[in-house]
Symmetry: C2
Subunit: 191 residues, 2 copies
Amino acid sequence: MLKDLVLHNRSYRRFDQSTRIAPETLRELCDLARLSSSGRNAQPLKYMIVSSQEECAKVYPTLGWAGYLKEWNGPEEGERPAAYIVILGDTAIASNYGIDAGLSIQSMTLGAVEKGLGGCIIQTVRREELAKILDISSQFEILYVVALGKPVEEVVVETLKPDGDIKYWRDEQHVHHVPKRELKDLIIAEK
Amino acid sequence: MLKDLVLHNRSYRRFDQSTRIAPETLRELCDLARLSSSGRNAQPLKYMIVSSQEECAKVYPTLGWAGYLKEWNGPEEGERPAAYIVILGDTAIASNYGIDAGLSIQSMTLGAVEKGLGGCIIQTVRREELAKILDISSQFEILYVVALGKPVEEVVVETLKPDGDIKYWRDEQHVHHVPKRELKDLIIAEK
């Protein structure tokens, strides 16, 4: 059932770093993105796959982690992502990527969950630095980085509390809690 | 397999209009969207469900269809969508919706495919007119309309021809062809 995949497709930020991901697996995730819808079928997204330990170690410091967890600077060595897919906009094809990145990334991360992996979509990226590290030419705009690995943290979806606070939080057992609005509060009308 | 769902999750534009969709089914699709990731977990998207024949008939004329098919003005009566989900941005929560709409719509349309339905993400919308018709307050920004129904057209994904033309096209048997770039042309490097 797709719902199981969607439910388990959480933002995971701690991984078993020793479980590496084969480039072929990452290519399969890019293929799911490739086969997803694209506005006007322009297909302006490109991908860079990073899976070697050496390159992953260079990418990691350019990323920002979990803005709401002020006392946590990101996963420690041993719990860092085992791979990254850098989502790029090809400026030779388009200047506006509409919702293509969202459509493609959702396919990718659902695919990762199906493979027993998990991901985190990272928007806080030191883009200039990352472009330099990965030798990404100025033709490509870095849109997002999807961090991937075998999750070692539990993420629980729960109902928003009456105070309406949407900030995710981590309890003493390091379980990550994600408050979600209820369906009745999202559907404004049915006609 | 998720890949089967992704492969069959094409932009369908002709439906069996007589196969109606229960509101409960549309709520389930919204629930898949609800459970999808949201930037900073802000969850700024809201949904309006339209499934009655009367309301669907009012929504239809506000939508633009298949920009590349110049001689086709959209599905004829009998082949029009059986339901719509209007994707809204709640301006009381956010002013920028990031990739949330893409993530949520991909979950929704994959869910539709799993249920034997199909959808089309429509960006060409006469928004002011639609807001008036559906009585959507100015608190909500109309982002996209997802048209849904039981598809009656065949959509074929094929490889981009050497001329690089990405425009979808329809053959004499009304089969809809979608040229997709090859994976090797999307992955700019592996490290």
